[in-house]
């Protein structure tokens, strides 16, 4: 509903009131309707501004759009400095938060491919993040080192020194994650969407429990320590990354990876595959009837989401230097499946700005307001429910997805409608 102005909304609300028989005794109808109207009135200027800036941007010539994009990226690249200057508490604190926001944004972008583009609910998304991180940690030799050291505390083992070749592990992690995504998706994606939710949830738990139990590969619940950081070794440029002691290089690395993925995903979503995803999400039966290879397309979305998450996992492992099964839970860990979902839903499914803004808010707000503390999961749950009731399209929705989610002309297989009049 982002295309409406405040006046239109008000007249709509009036019309709705007139149409409701019980409208006089109960102005505005049930609580969620009243709440929605209140929120709409309150946010009308903000949404008007968003709408204006969107039309302004869309009206620009290509070269001007490029300038806007470069400006946005530059500002994003300077974000750690800006946050430090305005909010600084301790050296390195907000730099670390910036990296967390970056990882969260990458994960949200990836989950958005699955949930936002293809309309599949993946509740085990953190599994692919975990697979990326574990692949890096195992391939780099840190896991072996940890297991040997633990078994023989007196003996000295060499710490793995691969730094230059670390970049290749991105591709390894990508291959493993995509492979496991296809392995999981192939049998389950031919089923109805809601089964997928529970199977992926199970998959997320299987990955975590397996990492916990396979002591000889993953060092079990003790986790993998001293994961080596990468280095750049081009002629003339030598730079050794320093783990979480120096976060900014990771932030810029993430920024580059995010820009690359946005570029790739935009291309994919604008083309034949993207149209197929939209068709599947809006009406799978009709899409299949029109000759869209639904299973293959859904598998593609799943694999692509897995690929994005594996990159996030690799960077996370490089940066934080220590991973354990507890870092990858359904909820409870920093980047858990449900939290990533909350980012995508809050920000708005189906676009690119939405998930990133959602990720930034979900990571930033609890850090800024520490008093939330342990209650933040409660708050996220409330946010999920309220967003679905009051603004199902999220903060920054894509136009098409917004129409679907608010139950307008286009919708996925809707449940039956219970009319207001019938029940009153």
């Amino acid at each position: 509903m982002s295309s409406e102005t405040g006046e239109e909304l008000e007249s709509q609300a009036r019309k709705a009131q007139e149409a409701t028989p019980g409208g006089i005794s109960e102005p505005g109808g049930p609580w969620h309707k009243r709440g929605r109207d209140r929120v709409r009135q309150f946010t009308a200027p903000i949404r008007g501004g968003m709408q204006r800036s969107r039309t302004w941007y869309e009206g620009l010539p290509t070269w001007a759009k490029a300038i806007v994009v470069v400006t946005v990226i530059t500002v994003a690249a300077l974000a750690p400095f800006i946050m430090n200057a305005t909010l600084g508490v301790a050296a390195g604190y907000w730099e670390a938060i910036a990296v967390k926001i970056g990882i969260a944004a990458l994960l949200a972008l990836g989950l958005n491919v699955v949930v936002g583009f293809a309309g599949l609910l993946d509740l085990g998304y953190v599994a692919f993040f975990a697979i990326g991180a574990y692949t890096y940690a195992i391939a780099s030799g840190a896991a072996r080192f940890g297991i040997d050291t633990f078994a023989n505390p007196t003996k000295h083992f060499p710490i793995p020194e691969w730094h230059m070749y670390m970049w290749l592990f991105f591709f390894l992690a990508l291959a493993v994650a995509v492979g496991s995504g296809i392995l999981l998706g192939a049998p389950t994606l031919r089923l109805r969407g809601d089964y997928l939710a529970i199977v992926t949830l199970g998959f997320g738990e299987i990955v975590r429990i397996t990492a916990n139990n396979l002591d000889s590969f993953t060092n079990g619940a003790k986790g993998i320590n001293e994961i080596p950081a990468p280095a750049i070794g081009l002629p003339g440029v030598h730079y050794q990354f320093q783990g979480s002691f120096q976060s900014n290089p990771y932030y810029w690395l993430l920024l580059g990876v995010i820009v690359m993925w946005i570029f790739l995903l935009r291309r994919v979503n604008a083309g034949r595959v993207g149209r197929a995803w939209a068709a599947i999400r809006e009406d799978e039966v009709a899409a299949a009837a029109m000759g869209v290879p639904t299973v293959r397309m859904k598998l593609g979305a799943f694999a692509m989401g897995a690929a994005v998450a594996s990159f996030g996992g690799v960077i996370y492992a490089m940066w934080v230097g220590f991973i354990s099964p507890d870092s990858f839970t359904l909820f409870g860990s920093e980047f858990s499946s449900v939290i990533i979902l909350a980012m995508v839903v809050l920000g708005g499914m189906g676009g690119f700005a939405g998930p990133i803004v959602g990720a930034a808010l979900v990571v930033f707000l609890p850090e800024r307001f520490r008093s939330l503390g342990d209650s933040r999961y409660l708050v996220f749950g409330l946010v999920l429910v309220l967003v679905m009731i009051l603004r199902p399209q999220g903060l920054i929705p894509s136009k098409r997805r917004a129409r679907e989610l608010t139950g307008g002309e286009l919708h996925e297989q809707t449940l039956y409608e219970v009319r207001e009049e019938a029940s009153a």
Partner: protein, 367 residues
Amino acid sequence: MATTERVATGPRSPFNGRSLAWVCGLAAVAILLTLGIRDGTCPSSGSIWLSYFIYGLRSGAIYAMVALGYTMVYGVLQLLNFAHSEVFMIGTFAAVYTLKGLFGVQPNHPPTGLTLVFVLLVTMIFAAAASGTTAVVMERLAYRPLRRRGASRLAYLITAIGVSLVLSNLLLLLDGGPHLGLPWNWPAVGGPGAVNYPPTISQAKWFSIGGVPISPVTVLVMAVAVVMLIVLDQFVRRTRTGQGIRAVAEDPETASLMGVNVDRTVVSTFLVGGLMAGVAAALFGITFGAAQYSIGFYPGLKAFTAAVLGGIGNVRGAMLGGLLLGLIEQFGIACTAAQWQNVIAFVVLVAVLMFRPTGILGEQVGG
């Protein structure tokens, strides 16, 4: 839900694809078991198998009762109510506080005789009431607004997850400390640790079957489960409300034209599912002795697996699926290790979805 009609194409051969698949599946299981027993991975003694069988039935009975809530809500709304596991969790808390607060059961003085029967009965009723209320309130506040709008399935699923997060974290935060920046302390009900049950019914040996000791608690769980399952089955089949539930599951629009109050039917579906989950939660808590904010997760997931295994939307399927899942899980533990217990259920789930996505009895309500 539309039932597929089989077109008769001549006499059916006993060796059609489906029975062949069943035979192959059973043969594979038998071969694996034999191999397992041969090389000592699986236990070879009959009484050990029997004890796993009985434990399997016991946990299966609880899964079956929880699975009914999933399957009935799915039948009526085509909604996977993820928050059902939290409805179960609320039940475990209600039961422990009934025992501790209402009856003041002391750690050293478990009630006996008729008092024990009365205490257990009231505990189960209170747990059922708490769970049922939770389920109904949840429907009213979270799902009904979506239903009115004709929201997409994704919106329902996300709401269900949100409700689940809210409920479990609410119990986590009720630890007696201040939260959300509020000036007063929250009541100490849950918190991060487990709230232990006082001893009630004995876990010790009562009598034995084939060398396997049976405790009173096992008998209690089985007996209550059997009674509840029969009552529910008859409720869905015979009563007017049950008829309404089946009608709405079949075709909501036609049902509403025929005078079924859809809203009320949906509420009663949630209520019945919640009541069953509450009784199951009381039994679960009495058996395993703890209530915790996160306790609903695995029973909930397994109950869902059981519902899918039996054919989601199918009431008898959920019962069968629950018992089967309990057995499979225990036999799996017998051949692997207890730490893989939770993986076994997921593997079963994926396998069922791969080979027979409509479950053993197929999808339909009341059949």
